[in-house]
Symmetry: C2
Subunit: 236 residues, 2 copies
């Protein structure tokens, strides 16, 4: 930390952006808002905003923006820092440094327009990342980073359960893996592997029949956060 004289320290605007991900309709989706003012008016962007005051904590700012712009409660979600983006010129108005967070959510309730009345929409990440899709600022790169972080965390943590409702079946959980990874998994080996991870799942003792076929057992999230051994994607 520098000891330079304080009068020479340039001050910059600090923002917090959110990549809120959910699994919905067979695809990994991200919550975006349509910008109401220039620059990038009418273009999709990550929800986020500037620090509310000089004394607001970063994590608190992220939780506040999450609740303001999506109506979701931060304490119910995983919310973790992703990375900080600060290339000069990434915001045409002024120098803006953005600390980005990722959040993982089960069924997002139909997003309500936030306090500033902008529309929040869910967009499949595959669509958001297409070259033809226009995304404001450098947010497409941020989305790509968030998606890669998510794919990677499925391998060695119990994150997948965060995408499921409070009670879920083994197939619900497998669907999360298959959708996020875009890869099919053997249901039988998957079952055995997950059951073998102590503390990942807690059986409720109940069963559900949602299709023809034998009813599936219901589980709740267990206390485990890491996967031992890891659940690896196929090398491709």
């Amino acid at each position: 930390m520098s000891d330079g004289p304080e009068w020479s320290i340039p001050e910059v605007a600090l923002a917090v952006d959110l990549a809120v991900l959910t699994v919905h309709d067979g695809s990994l989706q991200i919550m975006l808002v349509k910008r109401g003012i220039p620059p990038y008016e009418g273009v999709l962007a990550l929800p986020g905003g500037f620090l509310a005051s000089t004394s607001e904590d970063l994590d608190h700012a992220a939780a506040r923006e999450l609740s303001e712009e999506t109506g979701l409660e931060a304490k119910a979600l995983h919310l973790e820092q992703l990375r900080t983006y600060g290339a000069p010129g990434r915001d045409p108005r002024q120098r803006v440094i953005t600390v980005c967070y990722v959040a993982f959510s089960p069924r997002l309730p139909t997003p309500t327009a936030g306090g500033d009345a902008r529309a929040a929409v869910l967009v499949p990440v595959e669509k958001a990342l297409r070259p033809r899709t226009q995304i404001a600022f450098d947010h497409k790169k941020i989305i790509a980073d968030a998606v890669e972080r998510t794919r990677s965390k499925l391998e060695y943590t119990t994150l997948a359960a965060a995408f499921c409702a409070p009670e879920f079946t083994m197939t619900d959980l497998r669907d999360v893996y298959e959708i996020v990874w875009g890869e099919e998994l053997d249901p039988r080996n998957f079952h055995r592997k997950i059951i073998g991870v102590e503390g990942f799942l807690v059986p409720t003792g109940e069963r559900v029949s949602r299709q023809p076929g034998r009813p599936a057992a219901l589980y709740r999230r267990g206390p485990a956060t890491v996967l031992h051994p890891a659940m690896l994607r196929s090398r491709s």
Copy 2:
């Protein structure tokens, strides 16, 4: 990104701090500087400093501080973003947000005091992290994060070679693993495993005799950056 009126945006001071790690004298060491002015005058802290201007890129600021405070050339080193620390009150003078970077270096040349004449020293991380050791600001937490990142990256990347001289033996490389992980590895299985990772090592064809015993082959870093399959620490 918020569309709030710009006159309401609080500005904060933005700093860049560096966790420069190296393996030396049988331990993982970190470069620290003794602060010359309050707060924490005379206390060890991470090298770093404020953004030089409102238009300076974050990565550039990190590279500049690295060269200014340690004399190391950034282009020769891995330099990657670790995390951003922004708790209010972490700097008693004013609100400071710090974007932290980690760098990995082979033999650090005896660190020369930087432009502002503060002394740079190498400290074993084990010593820096001891409860009794005083470290400025929240830098002890940052050091702990940097060390954990390093330990973890050894598992699935070829990072270990970054701690070695341009030409090194298999034992040099194994020493890095053993020192960073604090764990003994079987030399024979280690050898086979590393050799099996395509692109990790390039044999120079030369041999060195540094102790009694059969001379060891010399290698250079290869183009590979990821380890397939991973080199896992023993579960403990």
